[in-house]
């Protein structure tokens, strides 16, 4: 076993993950799913019970789940973004620049998606009315 292989195995799991275009879309997808979930939850619970839930457990659980997915994606991206390299823009066609670009973009998208989910959840909590 070579030294490099040993050091790769020693790396933590999140460092072994590679950000790709697929992982890049995880935060906005979580945001979109939460957005849809919010509308469906409000429509169905209002139609079924005719009044707004006093303590919307399912809604809060869904929101928490979306936030966790976004936070974990952001956290992994943040670690990978710290791979040593040149300052932005990461536009060279090298493996390291590609990684740092995707990681930075994922991190920024995670931040935006986090705020998006919070802004979607706040009206549900504050308005609390089926009308």
């Amino acid at each position: 076993m070579s030294d490099s292989e040993t050091s790769r195995q020693r790396r933590k799991w999140h460092e072994r993950l590679r950000v790709t275009l697929w992982t890049l879309i995880v935060p906005p997808t979580a945001w979109a799913a939460h957005f849809l979930f919010s509308y469906l939850w409000a429509a169905i619970s209002c139609a079924k019970t005719d009044s707004f839930a006093k303590f919307p457990v399912l809604f809060l659980a869904g929101t928490l789940m979306a936030l966790i997915v976004i936070l974990v994606s952001g956290w992994i991206a943040w670690h990978q973004e710290r791979t040593p390299g040149d300052p932005p823009p990461h536009q060279d066609s090298t493996e390291i620049d590609r990684l740092r670009f995707l990681a930075k973009a994922t991190l920024l998208l995670a931040g935006l998606s986090f705020v998006g989910v919070v802004f979607t959840a706040l009206p549900v909590i504050f308005i609390g009315d089926c009308r």
Binding site: P87, P88, G111, V115, V118, F119, L122, P123, F126, I127, G128, D129, R131
Partner: protein, 311 residues
């Protein structure tokens, strides 16, 4: 052009109700905030273009983007959201609050006061509300979609055939105001308005009691009253206390106290009323009320004079 909005009877910038007042202050706070941010951006832009070479560096720039482009807007927008959301919550109403049912029709308003178990009081094209009390508007329409908006009182609410939308309001200042239809509903959409009279609670109670009483017996036998029946006006219009109780057109009980004619279209003078009776379509294109071109002018005037007596 801008001065058109500077009035006190029909303007969201001249609030007389709780919801409109909150929206008014929200509007001014947002405008003031927007001006401050625009000034800040102008200062930063000036600094960026006027700094000597080497005074700014890439790292500082990125920090600026992060804090002023990311964190600052997020904090401000979150603050605004938390400030505005409670205001969007519909006002609560108790089951014994006065309910006013308003139905939009091309191109007028059917108004019905429902207070407790008594027979509802019918009226048209005028809404009276007590100051300081919560009032519930149950809004619907009978033909096409209309929208009910009293700018100084609260936000607008659609009136949809087959559905009842609820708007809860509370007036804070007595006065005479104006409401309008804000959903295009046909040829005379722009002529579909109504008078709103916010009254002190005692005066309102007295008015509601008085309005329930039938019109004076003496005014039931004048020539105008007879012509009203002869020309078939009673086939559509009701006058409380008489045998006329049709609900097709606007209720004309106490027409003499109305602040306008034809749902906010004309001054309710006897001459205008007579002219409107003979040719409603000339004043309100598309109105359902038929014209009576063959009606002699003195007959129209007699009916108008009788209607003006109904107080």
């Amino acid at each position: 052009m801008l001065l058109v909005g500077c009035n006190t009877h029909q303007s969201a910038l001249a609030p007389f109700g709780v919801e409109a007042r909150e929206t008014y202050w929200l509007t001014w706070s947002l405008s003031a905030g927007a001006v401050l941010i625009a000034l800040l951006v102008a200062v930063l832009a000036w600094r960026a273009t006027h700094s000597s070479e080497g005074a700014l560096n890439h790292k500082q720039g990125m920090q600026l983007v992060l804090w002023l482009g990311g964190v600052f807007p997020t904090v401000v927008l979150t603050g605004l959201l938390l400030f505005a959301l409670p205001q969007m919550r519909p006002m609560a109403a108790a089951s014994n609050d006065l309910t006013i049912r308003v139905e939009g029709e091309q191109f007028w308003w059917h108004v019905q006061y429902e207070d407790g178990t008594r027979t509802p009081l019918l009226a048209a094209n005028e809404v009276r509300i007590p100051v300081g009390r919560t009032v519930v508007f149950d809004l619907t329409a009978t033909d096409v979609i209309h929208s009910f908006w009293i700018p100084g009182l609260a936000g607008k609410m659609d009136m949809i055939p087959g559905r009842t939308n609820r708007l809860v309001v509370k007036a804070e200042k007595a006065g005479t105001y104006r409401g309008v239809c804000t959903e295009f509903c046909g040829l005379s959409h722009a002529l579909m308005a109504f008078d709103v009279i916010a009254m002190e609670p005692d005066a309102f109670d007295a008015w509601l009691e008085a309005a329930r009483r039938p019109v004076k017996a003496a005014s039931r036998t004048t020539s105008g009253a007879k012509l009203f029946s002869d020309y078939g006006c009673n086939a559509c219009h009701a006058v409380r206390g008489t045998e006329h109780d049709a609900r097709i057109g606007p209720d004309l009980s106490r027409y003499g106290t109305r602040a306008s004619l034809g749902a906010g279209t004309l001054e309710p003078t006897a001459e205008n009323t007579a002219a409107f009776i003979r040719d409603a379509d000339a004043f309100k294109p598309g109105a359902r009320m038929p014209s009576y071109p063959s009606m002699p002018a003195d007959h129209a005037r007699a009916i108008a004079a009788w209607l003006k007596e109904l107080k």
